[in-house]
Amino acid sequence: MPLVAFTVGLAMVLMLRKIAARLQRRIGPPFLQPVYDIVKLYSKDTQISHGMIHEMGIIMAVGGYIAAETLLPVPGMDGLADKGGIVTLTYLLMIPQLGLALGVGQCANPNGSIGISRALTAMLAYDIPFILVVFGMSWSYGTTNLAEMIAIQQQAGMQSWGIIQMPLLALAGLMVLPAMLGKQPFEIYVAPAEIATGPMVEMGGKFMGGLFVMQCFQLYTVGVLYTTLFLGGGENWLSFLFKIFVVVAIPMSIAFMFPRYRTEDMLRLMWKWPVLVGLLGLAVVMIQV
């Protein structure tokens, strides 16, 4: 499953870059550009390491997502989905950011430290509504098992999808998506022109390659998680791929409409609107049940 995730993730990276290019009336990168980038980064002659923890951090960042992939059900392969459940998955999704924080910490670059402190604050901001959404969905389906959730949603076609049954929670989840992906209005922790890409500032060669791989997994994980919770999972590979690509394309399509939020504004925004909508959704779910 991680291999599927990586391949699909590469295609997603390509799609995002193509969307960005089209919105700016450019042609955009060629088809295999993400592959070229990763091969190039891993084949650099100089690999500047700042020590053991720096390397471990990248391994944690990639490994956390690889572990998360095994818990995500795809059509025909449930993996550990019916054993792990969504609570374990929520824990695993925090590991990459923490691993990155460890790795960046050893680089001792002030830009990196600023970046990672902003990234962790951002995680704090989007995790509250995210947990609300996860809690509401598990309450509504009466299970934390992702495979069962899909089965419940697939009983009566589109009518039983989470997005139809619980539109408020779906909306809160959609608001959280760009922040989870670190996309445009919420990319203050990367801020290339100000703090030189923040956490990535000291990453060159294979470290940067590792982060590129991590990005592929991240896009895939977020797409599949949203599809599983709200869009009825995948009946077959075709509809599954279509759904996850649409989910990932939404935040990118609206990314360039907003200016970048400062960290405190992002925190305020995230704790106000998605939390409000999520709490309302939760109330509706609890009254219904």
Partner: protein, 253 residues
Amino acid sequence: MSKNKTLTKKDQMQQDKAQDGQQMLVDFTRPRTNPMANVFDGLVRFCQSRSMFMLHYCTGCGAIELPPAMTSRFDMERLGIQPMVTPRQADILLITGYVSVKTLKRIILTYEQMAAPKYVIGICSCTVNGGMYWQSYATAKVLREYLPVDIYIAGCMPRPEAIIEGLQVLMDDIKTGRAENWKRYFQNYDYYLGNQQKLFGDHWQTPTDIISEARHYDLITENTLGKHTALLEKHQAPLQALEMTLQQNRERV
């Protein structure tokens, strides 16, 4: 287009040989006996040529031609060229326009922090021969004397088409394995350091230990060490961590 000439590495090497005879490019590439290894090397070189992250050191006027080259009119991303912001991530160092003595110090620091294989592109006439700043006392005229330059894109200023054409020449060089100028910095370090010392004074030193790096890459030649590196070793101070001054400042206020 006709005004802007793109100097390829071959022209530049000929000039090098004509001007400073002691420089030479020693070829360390071992012949690979395993045919699969050649295929692998070719693949890696192809990917390297199709994915170039550039760090633009834009202190000169040529910088103004880069935004159109990157944005919707000419779109460098379709060739796999992206801007990056730190030397650790970058492959290409773009130097646009004249280089003052003070600027050159930063350029050398940046260049030495970049990860090999790395390429330097000099844009505008000023990097070739000083251009209109030829008589300036504060300008480093010939960039090639301080750093190994892979491609010069001459012109005052070169148009985005010329910049993209120059980058395509570099792509071809990388693909065919000819763009190995970064090795010259290690192989002829004494020459480059000598020119740097002439400009910055005898106490010039950078945080990067080039000689150890050259040893690591097995690129030590008879031109790596010489009287200039001996001078460097005499003056070299060990690197120290910066003092934390936050508290002191607070007291002062």
